[in-house]
Amino acid sequence: MPDAALPAGTESLLRFENVGVRFDDVTALQNISFDLHGGETRVVLGAAGSGKTTLLKAAIGLIRVDSGRVYLLGHDITNMQENQLLDLRSQVGVLFQEGGLFDSITVAENVAYPLVNRRVHAMPLNEVDTKVQEALRFVELEHTLEQYPSELSGGMRRRVGIARAVVSEPPLVLYDSPTAGLDPITANTIMALIAKERDFQNTANLIVTQRYQDGQLMANFRYNRSSGNLEPVSRNGAGNRAGSNPTHTIFMVMKEGQLAFEGNQAELEASRDPYISKFVPKYS
């Protein structure tokens, strides 16, 4: 199945080499290898407890790996000291489950946090205000500047989380279950924002989720700047739509800490494996 090739020389932003993580006697990750390049989106599917969040935390060194190596933005972070890791992490956007916002500061301060508090090249305050407003306008929440996270709904909190993750325009953004616990309409809004961010800034994404629809949206829709809407990438009909992969979306399925599948949407839908096919809704 021919994938649309990534531009030549696209560097690897995140690379896992035979990574293993253990918590006491429980194996959380085992022998995970993959490579996430610039402009690529990887959607990690898996049941609860399959190691998805551990994978995401290991990617930025919040959890140390027990075996294998992890490379983030070209740096080997496997044994990197926390101090150096902090500087590297500030170059990556992260959306936590439930948003991970600081609840005792306002929405504006939350979004400004990565710009104001990073250890190197802290931004002048007047520039920060402009950036914060831009980021909140992007997620259509510019009216919530002075509100506290507890005053917002779950979906709005998630959107503020996205604004905070992308405010520093990172080349790589990690999303931990961006749609968990949201109704289908809000979930769709969140995924549309993530796709919009991808196409606006050409960011690489690692999206951990339980919903196949999230990945499907990333793989098949593209943000049209002129119309301001998400549009399907191919209009050749359902049978043909996943034949190519113009959005560079790759699916990964985790099962009990191992990688059970890696490939594009068509390959995922064609899989006969009973575990993998459970994630793909069967359309009649």
């Binding site: 919040l62 992490r89 936590f96 916002l101 600081f102 946090y113 990073r118």
Partner: protein, 255 residues
């Protein structure tokens, strides 16, 4: 057997973790970035916020010491020396210890519950993920603020306590203003002032770091936050007593 070993190992591991946290917090004092805003906010919370309770407690302790001591001193016909007793007791011991206990109850608990809530809601992890060191951002400012504020609060408590003593001495013991303040002032030596200011400085380290330590170790949801808060206050208070005994011993020998 393994259970017994774990039981013995856990306090040693906790002390080790406490040392590591203290070392990092101290090292960060000399390292960029410095979060001046956070230090100022904490100074306001710990210093200005504790002022009313410190004034009230200092005043009444001075009042009570004077009443108690005047009875004992009257047996020797030395009621006139009450200013000296009040000044020495307050500056050397009661001022630093009472203020430290109040700040331990008020701020070690506050710090532990704030950091504990952040820990259980994964805000500490979020902070690390956004590239800020939680020790630099949360622990060091609280430590600096407590170390700056506790000696000042102690000075206030000492002074207000002496004023409380003066009211009793003047109104009920019939001492003149100059009698009371002269004996109080002349009894204080350099050594007393040094120990009266060194003690709160040392207590401040322990109170802030114990609060941060238990906060950052919190696990087990909201119940865990409650547990961390209680532990922080108890451990900080006990350490205040242990340290004041040690420091008093050193200063008594120096004299």
């Amino acid at each position: 057997m393994a259970g017994l070993l774990d039981f013995l190992k856990s306090p040693v591991a906790a002390i080790q973790d406490f040392y590591i946290l203290s070392g990092r917090a101290l090292r960060n004092v000399f390292r960029a970035p410095h979060y001046a805003d956070d230090i100022a906010i904490q100074m306001d919370v710990i210093g200005v916020g504790s002022l009313p309770i410190v004034i009230l407690t200092g005043f009444f302790s001075g009042l009570v010491i004077t009443m108690q001591m005047s009875r004992a001193l009257s047996q020797y016909g030395a009621v006139g020396q009450v200013g000296q007793i009040v000044a020495l007791t307050l500056v050397r011991e009661l001022g630093p210890v009472l203020t430290a206990l109040l700040v331990a109850g008020r701020n070690a608990s506050g710090i532990a519950s704030e950091l504990g809530s952040m820990k259980v809601t994964e805000q500490i992890d979020a902070m690390r993920a956004l590239g800020t060191d939680p020790i630099q951002k949360l622990v060091t400012p609280r430590m600096i603020a407590t170390c700056a504020m506790l000696p000042m609060l102690t000075i206030v408590a000492d002074f207000v306590g002496m004023c409380g003593g003066y009211i009793i001495a003047y109104l009920t013991l019939g001492l003149t203003t100059s009698e009371y303040w002269n004996t109080a002032y002349q009894s204080l030596e350099y050594n007393d002032i040094v120990q009266g200011l060194l003690k709160p400085f040392v207590f401040a380290f322990i109170i802030s770091l114990v609060g941060c330590f238990y906060g950052l170790r919190t696990s087990g949801g909201t119940q865990g936050v409650g547990r961390a808060t209680t532990q922080a206050v108890v451990v900080a208070s006990v350490w205040v007593f242990v340290l004041t005994s040690l420091l008093t011993r050193i200063f008594v020998n120096l004299h």
